[in-house]
Amino acid sequence: MIELRTSPHMKGALSLPQIMHHVIYALLPICAFAIYQFGVSALALITVITLSCVLTETMFNHLANKKNSLHDYTAVITGILLALTLPPGFPLWMGAVAGFVAIAMGKTLFGGIGFNLFNPALLGRAFVQAAFPVAITSWTPGGMADRFTQFIPSSLTLPFTAPITVDGFSGATPLALHKFEATSTPVTDLFLGFSSGNPLLADGSLLADGSIGETSSLLILLCGTYLIIQGIMGWRIPLAIFISTTLFSGAFFLFDNSYPSPLFMLTSGGLMLGALFMATDPVSAPVTPAGMWLFGLLIGAMTIIIRLFGGLPEGIMYAILFANATVPLIETITQPRKFGQISVKKETGEKND
């Protein structure tokens, strides 16, 4: 039997599921460190949200009579990423709601993988930020002695009830400390994810605060670099975000020293995770090279404005979501210059040579 096909008859090795596998591999060390710092609560949070995402996608596929789409692993990635942006003691039932919203409203509503306008994980997080403002700003310090045997009390809050608050389980994140109490956390702590006994934290915790997957900028940077070296992820968007964050916060810092330094801005909060793993979600980012630069610059600038002047200490999430909305416009104005697109003037000039 002779088989007829159309050219090209060769195919590159990398397929979509393989790309997604690599992203999951790159997220595993970050998950492991989150579990090391925050114990069973972090493990449960990651598991519950990922399951919620996977079940939601299965349910919608079933309702819409679509074939199973789980084997592309994007629902798993959305689940893990969403979990990594939440506080350690975030009630598990609220996590499940976040996962449901991320997949249902962030992805399947638009037509599934490839069609979503916004990053699904961030859309889910934005929803719970609005719906559960207290739970999402209750930060439990890491490194508790009994973290591997005991849940943080608020994790196990019964569904549809407000979280239990117990004294000694909440602290402030470095960004909030800076914003509301004008105290800086050493940049090396933010970079490594281990705090060296910050005096303001009366509980004497050993590890820095923050969302479960955002405490060590170094680890996130390494995992992101792995993906870039493997050719899985583009380098333009993260680099553009880093440059723009540095420039904007640097301008304020030079103007007035009480503003946080660019290094603090780069290593604190969700910036690293956002720049390397959220803004680089290809579906909700531009495809044109110039568009990628513009997109990254926009995210960095908006993050700094929200962080310095907004009501919230952190701004990367809204910055990325806003930038997602501008992608169609960005792509329209940054279409690549095609080969041979030469102005008439230049063309005649070359002819005369």
Binding site: S7, P8, G114, V283, T288, M292, Q335, F339
Partner: protein, 453 residues
């Protein structure tokens, strides 16, 4: 571009790096295969008007004599690839799909197959017009795969002057090694041909561009360069699709051919190695093109190599002679990136065919056939050598918005090199979408004018 400058040799931006797969045939010296008992010689083996047959069934022909004349300027004659008798002039299957008219020659089994001899020509004494006519009389077309009549390419509109002849020795398609072997084995003919074409064009200099996976060819030509002071040899980085003439011009001369334009608009004409080498041999002897070198390779082939094959030899005969194991599953004429599969073993080798690749069932790469939606990963945008946006074009194609593809996203600049389909992790058949879009667009103006009438 910054990273690319670290490499030793120049190249263009975008494009892809392919496994070159040339190891099975690059060291195989060019050999001759016997004559098939029946040759199928299509009248249209080139771009332009088909040739007009001037023989009739029953007539005896001598190898090398003209059997079909050029119908117009945009056409070339066809010479008898073997001595024999004309069996019939009939419709036969071709690589492109539809059957087309072909002259069938029954070759004489015992004949010496000497080429009909003609009076030698002193190429140096010909006028420009005579030289163009002489090139047309050889029946020469672009042997790299395009099949564009060579004399038409040499007839540059008078308002343009050509300063450089580029000789394309990239052979950037994987598997193919015909140009490589010709450069190694026939550098003298190549340089002679180059000199003749420089004269035909009035070009002051010629540059032979060769990809750096063929450094032995660079050396071989350099060793013969004495006496050809206006011819240079330059290595370029191995990079697909550098053999596309617009890209090679950009790499070697830093000139950009305007979109929709021709190389002569920037003072350049590009010719392929095989074309020039053959002309270097044929022109002085006043002979026509009757055979060509073809790389025959692939997983099922027992004796892969480079073979001189009389034009019109059917694929079936070739497979019998080079040996083939397994069931033939996937036959490609040309290279693996831009070649086309053929449906029948009766399809003959024609002038533009540089390779025959045969793969059997077990070997066809089946990575994953599942097509996913476009995730806008932008790999195709970074691969497209024409700097188009294949991702957007693909999405528009699936919505059948063909007009927008043409007017807003430069569909017609796509030359179907296949880079976008190659890199697409979602397995979207982008090139196929674009071919469909182009053919629909080509039909539309006709439909409209018919509606009006």
């Amino acid at each position: 571009m910054g990273i690319l400058e670290l490499f030793k040799y120049k190249t263009f931006s975008h494009g892809i790096h392919l496994p070159d797969k040339k190891e099975h045939t690059r060291d195989q010296a060019i050999r001759r295969l016997p004559f098939a008992p029946e040759l199928i010689v299509p009248l249209s083996q080139h771009f332009g008007a088909p040739a007009k047959a001037i023989v009739s069934p029953g007539q005896e022909v001598v190898r090398g004599e003209v059997i079909a004349e050029a119908d117009s300027f945009m056409s070339v004659p066809i010479h008898a690839p073997a001595s024999g008798v004309i069996k019939e002039i009939e419709l036969y299957p071709t690589a492109r799909g539809p059957k087309s008219e072909a002259i069938i020659i029954k070759t004489w089994p015992g004949a010496s197959q000497r080429v009909a001899s003609f009076d030698p020509v002193d190429v140096g004494s010909l006028t420009h017009e005579q030289l163009i006519k002489a090139v047309q009389d050889t029946g020469m077309v672009g042997l790299g795969g395009a099949g564009f009549p060579t004399h038409v390419k040499l007839s540059v509109p008078p308002e343009y002057t050509i300063d450089t002849l580029l000789v394309n020795g990239c052979e950037c398609e994987p598997y193919l090694t015909t140009d490589h072997r010709l450069m190694l084995e026939h550098p003298a003919e190549l340089l002679q041909g180059t000199k003749m074409l420089m004269k035909a064009l009035g070009a002051k200099r010629a540059i032979i561009g060769i990809e750096d996976n063929k450094m032995d060819a660079v050396q071989a030509i350099k060793a013969h360069l004495s006496g050809f002071e206006h011819i240079q040899v330059k290595a370029v980085q191995t990079h697909y699709p550098q053999g596309s003439e617009k890209l090679l011009i950009k790499v070697l001369l830093a000139r950009e051919v305007p979109s929709g334009g021709f190389p002569y608009q920037v003072g350049v004409v590009v010719q392929n190695i095989a074309t020039i080498t053959q002309l270097g041999e044929l022109l002085p002897n006043n002979q026509g093109l009757i055979e060509r070198v073809v790389t025959i390779t692939g997983t099922g082939i027992k004796k892969p190599g480079n073979y001189i094959i009389p034009l019109g030899t059917p694929i079936r005969f070739l497979l019998d002679h080079v040996g083939f194991s397994g069931t033939e599953n996937h036959l490609i004429l040309g290279g693996p990136m831009m070649g086309s599969t053929v449906a029948s073993l009766d399809v003959p080798i024609t002038k533009p065919v540089s390779g025959l690749l045969v793969f059997n069932e077990q070997s066809v790469e089946k990575v994953s056939d599942e097509i996913y939606p476009c995730i806008k990963c932008a790999r195709c945008v970074d691969a497209c050598p024409m700097h188009l946006n294949p991702s957007m074009l693909g999405q528009l194609a699936s919505k059948r918005e063909y007009e927008s593809m043409q007017s807003d996203f430069n569909l017609m600049d796509c030359f179907e090199c296949g880079c976008c389909s190659y890199v697409c992790p979602s397995n979207i058949p982008l090139v196929q979408y674009f071919r469909i879009a182009k053919s629909v667009l080509r039909e539309r103006p006709k439909e409209r004018s018919e509606e009006k009438a």
